[in-house]
Amino acid sequence: MGKRLTKFTERVIESTLMVSGTFTSVIVLLIILFLFSEGAGLFNQTPMEKGYVVAVNTANPVSTLSPAEFKNVYDAKIKTWKSLGGTGDSIKVFRVDDIAGYYTEEQIGSNFEHLGACISELVAKTPNIIAFFPREYADKDFKGKVISLKKITIGSFISDREWFPTAQPVAQFGVLSLILGTLWVSLAAILFALPLGLATAIYLAEIADSRVRNILKPLIELLAGIPSVVYGFFGLIVIVPLIKNIFHLDVGETALAGSIVLGIMALPTIITVSEDALRNTPRAMKEASLALGATKWQTIYKVSIPYSASGITAGAILGIGRAIGETMAVLMCTGNSAIIPHSLLQPVRTIPATIAAELGEAAQGGLHYKALFALGCILFIITFVINLTVEFISSKRRGGSHQ
């Protein structure tokens, strides 16, 4: 009886442990579920302000516009119908506030009771007009053609350049500049951190004697423990003004400042992972090389480094992943303007910084809110792929060392 009871408890304990063991997997799946279901809400929507319509003259062949085209028309960057696939030259832009320029107050009516009729007449008689006005005026008697706005698709989301999530009348959800900003900052950070990190890893693993190593290693590990907001603060107070003065810029918050701070933050990851990889080089291999008359340095770059190349690569990729996902330091140091950067001395905006800066102001369930979740999805996918790559590389390494 007692034995059966112990057996039963054992089973209960094992099941409990197993449930906790699968907890992380459940969380990852939940993250995917929540992020993607919120983010997916962005697609197949039109980013038009609620309750408004766009209309053109009935003779106009154009029947749909993309959000970007619409914005460019209203910003006077697109000036002719020809470039939109229609006929006729200059586009006449009309907003509901412009009505006073066409009709007298008397014609509109003191309570705007004739406003609808006025707009209708104006659109009907002006062939090259594009009008933007509240939906209530586009009733049955409306004599123009209401055109539709293209829906947001995954393609347009990724390839559009403009990110103006709260622009009126049409919000712009193009993340290309954000993606490029993120990649610029992260790659520049790694370009700066990888050689330095690798040199330090080689020094710690192969050259330094154990006393020096025992001092340097804990210090570098401490570097990893400092919160990112403190790095951001340091960057803001020290590195940003430094860059401003060195390059004589108007603002010091640039991609370069973010890259330097990110590079410093990525160093511990790169150093630790690469050093571990270098230390795994079998002693026999190194000794064989030395016995053949190679110098210590030749042994390092002809034996140790090639042997641990996959581990070093894993460290570099992991460093990039950290840099791409880093939020606070970048938010504080890069200036956050959503433009495609042409040099490191311009302000940029990254995906994590955008989420952090804007989510607080986005109305829950609105398009902006959903767009930020879609950004989160992009970030999640990028880091997920990076993690799987690292996993793949290191599992290959483990397999290789058994031979």
Partner: protein, 294 residues
């Protein structure tokens, strides 16, 4: 007199070796110097500001004067809450992976997912915490939602340290215990866990250091911009140190005037991490000795 070829070659080799070694050494020390510069910059400026009042008083005058007491308390609550959640689940999960799970698909999958969770950017945790805890489960911006979000972030760290700690224990102890007729759980609880305990606790303390400095996950789940009172329940908002530092160094009412407060806050944050590190090391040494003596 011309030297023989092989001597020249050897000399050249030695020169390039000396050059490489010296430059690597210089780079390594330069990196450590960067760290020391960052640390001493914040320590120096922070210690000029910090005082007993600074850590025990409410913020005043648009956060340009007074102290950071509510932010310290808020961070302590968040750390405690997240650990209450992450520590039991993380340790159990680590025990399952290392002691119970058989090699195979399930174990590989769980390890892969844990690694993936560790690589998820902290802002994504923030998004997830907001949509699940704040909105879906209707906790609102609260200590509960923030602690759970931070707990999820700390979970992979706790799991990994537990796993490593258990892996380090020689298999002969397990076999010996099982041979004496102990069950698997008895072996785990009475033999393996006590030996792994020092390293598990070290991991816990290190993850406390990490959690206390995280900003992105609490932005939308708990952090309050300015709240000069202490929370009464787990459904209240709180101020937190990292968010406070972010706010007063970027968007405070008067950034220049609150600079001193920012240095002080950064100092307190760094001290938390430093103390966690030192404590973890000391504890590992102390408990390690005790276990050996037993």
């Amino acid at each position: 007199m011309k030297q023989p070829d092989h001597i020249q070659v050897r000399k050249r080799k030695q020169r390039s070796q000396a050059f490489a070694f010296v430059s690597f050494g210089v780079i390594s020390f330069a990196i450590v110097a960067i760290l020391i510069v960052i640390l001493s910059f914040i320590l120096y400026n922070g210690f000029r500001v910090i005082s007993w009042d600074f850590i025990t008083k409410m913020p005043e005058d648009g956060m340009t004067k007074g102290g950071i007491y509510p932010a310290i308390i808020g961070t302590l609550y968040l750390v405690a809450g997240s650990m209450l959640f992450a520590f039991p689940i993380g340790v159990m999960s680590g025990i399952y992976i290392n002691e119970y799970a058989k090699d195979g698909f399930l174990k590989r999958f769980i390890q892969m997912m844990t690694n993936n969770l560790a690589g998820v950017p902290s802002i994504v945790f923030g998004l997830f915490g907001m949509s699940l805890f704040v909105n879906k489960l209707k906790f609102g911006d609260s200590i509960l939602a923030g602690s759970l979000t931070l707990g999820l972030l700390a979970l992979p760290v706790v799991i990994r340290t537990t796993e490593e700690a258990l892996k380090a224990i020689d298999n002969s102890f397990r076999i010996g215990s099982l041979a004496l007729g102990a069950s698997k759980w008895q072996t785990t609880r009475r033999v393996v866990m006590p030996m792994a305990f020092p390293n598990v606790v070290t991991g816990l303390i290190l993850s406390i250091g990490r959690v206390s400095g995280e900003t992105a996950p609490i932005l939308f789940t708990v952090a309050a911009y300015f709240l000069p009172k202490l929370p009464h329940s787990i459904f209240d908002k709180v101020m937190a140190l990292p968010y406070h530092l972010y706010v007063i160094s970027t968007s405070g009412t008067n950034i220049e005037a609150s600079r001193g407060m920012a240095y002080g806050t950064a100092l307190v944050l760094i001290m938390l991490v430093l103390i966690a590190n030192l404590l973890a090391n000391a504890l590992r040494r102390y408990l390690g000795k005790k276990v050996k003596m037993n």
